[in-house]
Subunit: 345 residues, 2 copies
């Protein structure tokens, strides 16, 4: 019904009349144009929200590290993030029910067919997070940050294969540049160590990139499968399974710590801020998946990484390296080529 | 007459019939196609020649440095390079005169109008080379190598402004990437020093990049002004003025050394090899200017820089850095985008 290919939505999004207040008397084409414009606005808004939330997320992490080592269990914090997202989705739904009543698209009850796919992204992320502990046997933390850029390529490839959406040749070139640019921006004097990563380390990094890319692409497929379905219902079910799988992670990794020191041990004001931020960016990711796509998400988080570094200069007195400038230039050209590639092909 | 925009020459160069042996009986269009094909072949050949000669040039420099410091006067070597190029052009001309006789396009005698522009590139290079000694007051040698990549941008800008040739938007993006990629490939742990370059250093680096770009663009204008004019005549006059200006450089910089130790002091087998290589790559540059353009030259020398590094791994046991891989990736994408940009626009 409401669903159309995102790629098509954009084309006229900018060339539309500014007058969207008096739609009633307009012919059908103006209505369509206005609705495309509002879709474009929504897509842009969620993309900006995701970029800003992701940047502030990284800054909060730096801040919390400066304040000392993590004292809390990361798994309990992840569980709290899922719980908060679930609660927020439910709150939004209650508001909709009050204003518009319960419809086929906003009711919470579901069928097995609809809900059966929702655990898959959460399960993939759980496996990926567990693997994360083992990869450090082969790679150090800065090396892992570098290898994580493989996510960009895996997302592009799986987006093409699974969602069967085409990128133009220029957009593929832009995607390779995005990966190279992000990695360049993160280079430091020790980065060359990553080239000595043993074979097992590379395999694990590639498997993790594929798991992460697959989870992202699968989430997009879920969110777009039934476009008219209210996003808060979809989020609610997605996050319920997130809670379940994070509960499993607590049992596997932090059972003793939680039993001995309590669920909320080591929580501080900054921990609460981080949980709030992660919850909001999680919801922003869902919205980008529904109203835009994985490619927009990858660009958004990459630009956020650069923004974080620039903001850190002012906040923490970090120095920007020449590699950062070069990487940022390449990422900027990539963003430009991605949009030019879309218009031309 | 023979002259057409290089941009147009390419388009059908690859889609032409393979049968170029029996041209006589073919209609005119086949003749044109065959002549375009031969132009494309010539352009490709000179580009490859320049790339290979430039790579081996850098390898000879590394080799000569390994063998010890320069014992000879660089200015006398440069003079010998110009003399050799002049002699080679004359030799080629004599062969042409014997085979085809002297024509309007192959005769050596010239008018003031034709020859008056030939000293300008040599003069520009002289000023640039003299400035080179002063910039080291502000930048160290590796920093200077990094700043030299500004040549890429200045060549592109001057090519557009002076020769009035258009690059597509994608080709401009590719050019920015070429500059960023080459710089990334050269990054090392001390590269960040270049960011502390004082204002005067930046100004000098920009002025030198403009001089170098202007000399290149001016040479192209000279070579293409009269397309039917034999390239060896054009080279002869270009190199005669090269000899004159390098003689001036000997007087300014190495007069005492030459007077006391002799003109050829410190020359070794490798010095002779380097002079031979520089002469041949100089002629290749002229040919690229006549049959291709400055953009091709910049791409050619950039790819040569990457080839040199790869070959040095085998020859001298150098290690390739992660930055090198990233930079090479960006340069490769840039080469791809440059050709795609040309076809599409």
């Amino acid at each position: 019904m409401e669903y159309r290919k995102i790629k098509d939505e954009d084309k006229d999004g900018t060339s539309v009349t500014d007058d969207i207040e008096s739609l009633g008397g307009k012919p059908l084409s103006a209505n369509i144009a206005a609705s495309e414009r509002s879709r474009w606005m929504r897509k842009t808004t969620v993309t900006f929200a995701l970029t800003l939330l992701t940047s502030s997320q990284a800054i909060l992490i730096v801040w919390s590290k400066r304040a000392g080592k993590y004292e809390y269990s990361v798994t309990t914090a992840n569980f709290m993030v899922e719980t908060l997202k679930c609660a927020l989705s439910l709150l939004a739904l209650v508001r909709i029910w009050r204003n518009e009543g319960v419809t086929e698209d906003t009711r919470l009850s579901t069928t097995f067919d609809e809900v059966s796919v929702y655990p898959i992204p959460a399960a993939l992320y759980l496996v990926k997070n567990l693997l994360q502990y083992y990869i450090f046997a082969y790679v150090d933390a800065p090396g892992y940050q570098i290898l994580k850029n493989l996510n960009i390529i895996s997302t592009g490839v799986l987006y093409r294969i699974i969602l069967k959406k085409k990128l133009s040749e220029i957009q593929w070139a832009a995607f390779v540049l995005l990966c190279a640019g992000c990695t360049t921006a993160q280079l430091n004097s020790n980065s060359d160590h990553v080239l000595q990563t043993p074979f097992q380390g590379w395999i694990m990094a590639i498997v993790m990139a594929l798991l992460s890319g697959f989870a992202g692409v699968y989430t997009e497929a879920i969110m777009k499968k039934r476009p008219s379905r209210n996003i808060n219902v979809q989020n609610f079910w997605l996050y319920v399974f997130g809670m379940v799988f994070n509960a499993v992670a607590i049992l596997i990794q932090d059972f003793d710590a939680v039993m001995n020191k309590g669920f909320f041990h080591g929580y501080s004001f900054i921990t609460v801020l981080m949980i709030l931020n992660h919850a909001l960016s999680g919801i922003a990711v869902s919205m980008v998946m529904k109203y835009a796509d994985n490619i927009v998400k990858v660009y958004s988080t990459s630009v956020a990484m650069l923004l974080t570094a620039v903001v850190s200069v002012f906040l923490f007195g970090f120095h920007l390296s020449l590699a950062f400038f070069l990487g940022s230039t390449v990422v900027s050209v990539s963003v430009y080529l991605h949009s030019v590639g879309k218009l031309q092909w």
